[in-house]
């Protein structure tokens, strides 16, 4: 579904990505792992053309996303839960959810306000609160919910469970598993390696702006010391 080849990117003069290759198949859950500062977020931002790639190709279902502006890439069916939540502080919860809501996926059962509120009852309670007054975890739920409301075909979660209580985190994993069954592809960045191994199909490990290892969950379990080497786990 999503294919990334030789992606490079830089912040000003300092290059951060040195040719990243990765792919996410339809209905697949793929993770991107690596220590802090290895370029995971930058990869995501380069895919979305938030950070303009200096080289490389990004295709979705075979069509080149090329130099498209970010909104066109999103319209192609990518839903992003960005690092650091980035909810709209001056919109209330309800507005955050409906402002950018869309229907980018055929089939399946679309996400509606009602379903979102069932998933995160706190958000219903806080419906009228401004985004910036929410607690950290509430904001995080809102960011996930907001991406779901665009009914994407590919969901990218960049540290989406940061600051979430254990119960809620489990809830999120359950949702991801349901989405996967509906055929939605997922690209996942998270630090809970144990959970990732449970729900993901394949993994990419990044180091210094390159993919240092890739393989299935099985392979990751087997290769001894791999996680310790790249992640210190």
């Amino acid at each position: 579904m999503l294919e990334v080849q030789g992606l490079q990117a830089a912040y000003g003069a300092s290059q951060v990505l040195f040719g990243v290759d990765l792919a996410v198949g339809a209905g697949e859950v793929v993770t991107l792992m690596g220590r802090n500062g290895m370029g995971k977020t930058t990869t995501v931002n380069a895919i979305m053309n938030i950070v303009r790639p200096t080289a490389g190709r990004v295709t979705m279902d075979g069509t080149d996303l090329g130099d498209r502006p970010t909104y066109r890439i999103a319209q192609a069916g990518i839903g992003l839960v960005p690092e650091g939540r980035q909810i709209f502080p001056n919109l209330d919860v309800h507005e955050n959810l409906v402002a950018t809501a869309a229907q980018r996926r055929r089939g399946g059962s679309p996400w509606t306000l009602e379903r979102i509120y069932q998933l995160f009852p706190v958000l219903r309670e806080r419906r009228g609160s401004m985004g910036n007054l929410l607690s950290g975890g509430e904001q995080q739920m809102l960011a996930i919910a907001r991406a779901l409301m665009t009914n994407p075909r590919l969901l990218i979660l960049d540290e989406a469970t940061e600051g979430l209580a254990p119960l809620i985190r489990q809830e999120i994993w359950a949702v991801l598993e349901r989405l996967k069954q509906e055929g939605i592809s997922i690209l996942l960045i998270d630090k809970n390696v144990r959970d990732l191994m449970r729900i993901a199909d394949r993994h990419y490990i990044m180091e210094k702006g390159r993919v240092a290892w890739q393989g299935s969950t099985g392979a990751l379990r087997q290769e001894d010391g791999l996680l310790a080497r790249y992640m210190g786990v």
């Binding site: 839903g79 709209f88 001056n90 991406a147």
Partner: protein, 307 residues
Amino acid sequence: MNSTLVISQLLNGLQLGVLLFLLAAGLTLVLGIMNFVNLAHGSFYMVGAYLCATFTLWLDSFLLGLLLAIPAMLLVGVVTELLVVRHLYRRDHLDQVLASFGLILVFDSTVHMVWGPAGLTFVLPAVLNGQVTVFPGVEFPVYRLLIIAVGLLVALGLYLLVARTRVGMLIRAGAANPVMVGALGVDIKTLFTLVFALGAVLAGIAGMLIAPITEASIGMGKDILIITLVVIIIGGIGSIRGSFIAAMVVGLIDTLGRSYLDDLLKLVLSNQAAETSAPAISSMLIYILMAVILYFRPEGLFPPRSR
């Protein structure tokens, strides 16, 4: 006190308030929502006046003049946004101040080149040029009543647009985090262009409405700009409702100050001193008002529910 005079002055104040609101609405949207400090907003007021005067003189009809000038203003707004403004949303306020000051100079001198230094006047059609009796004994110019009506309509429309529609939400969201709005699949740039142009049109309409009363002249935008800024600050930046109320308050204070302050001052000062200082002090009133309001409510009267 003479009650018919009081009523006329209240209406005068209301009319000035409405005019200020037309200007403030666009400015508060652009500043509060898109976070762009547009000092050139007053220039749209001026350009609107000139365009309307030109078309009116050309077609010999105020109505047609208005109808042509409005789309022309839209164009002016769009072009300004595309060429300059859109590159500055993410910059700090100082860059915006500098660039929009540059825009003021460009607009002023362009108008000077095109229309000359003299200013343009035209006269209202006879129907609008008279007076009506609004209350027994109180006659008021028809045209000024019309301005009041237009302003109230625009106020309502804008309120509905921003507070009640998804467009309003998107604009506000885009103000806070345009990248994120884009990442969620909305073409925020185009939306911003349209909002900016809408602000330009509103300011232009204010200019079109005032032109038959005063005239279209260079520099008319500069002073009104500062008063407009005062209005949106008092009202709370970004709040349409706030700028409406603040515009009315400022309009009334200015008008009443101009009409009664010298009499008041004469109670404490010599006639001569009162006559010469009254205009200055009445101009000062709105700034005093702003400072007092900011002292007690540092975000203005109706701060938007969040920054």
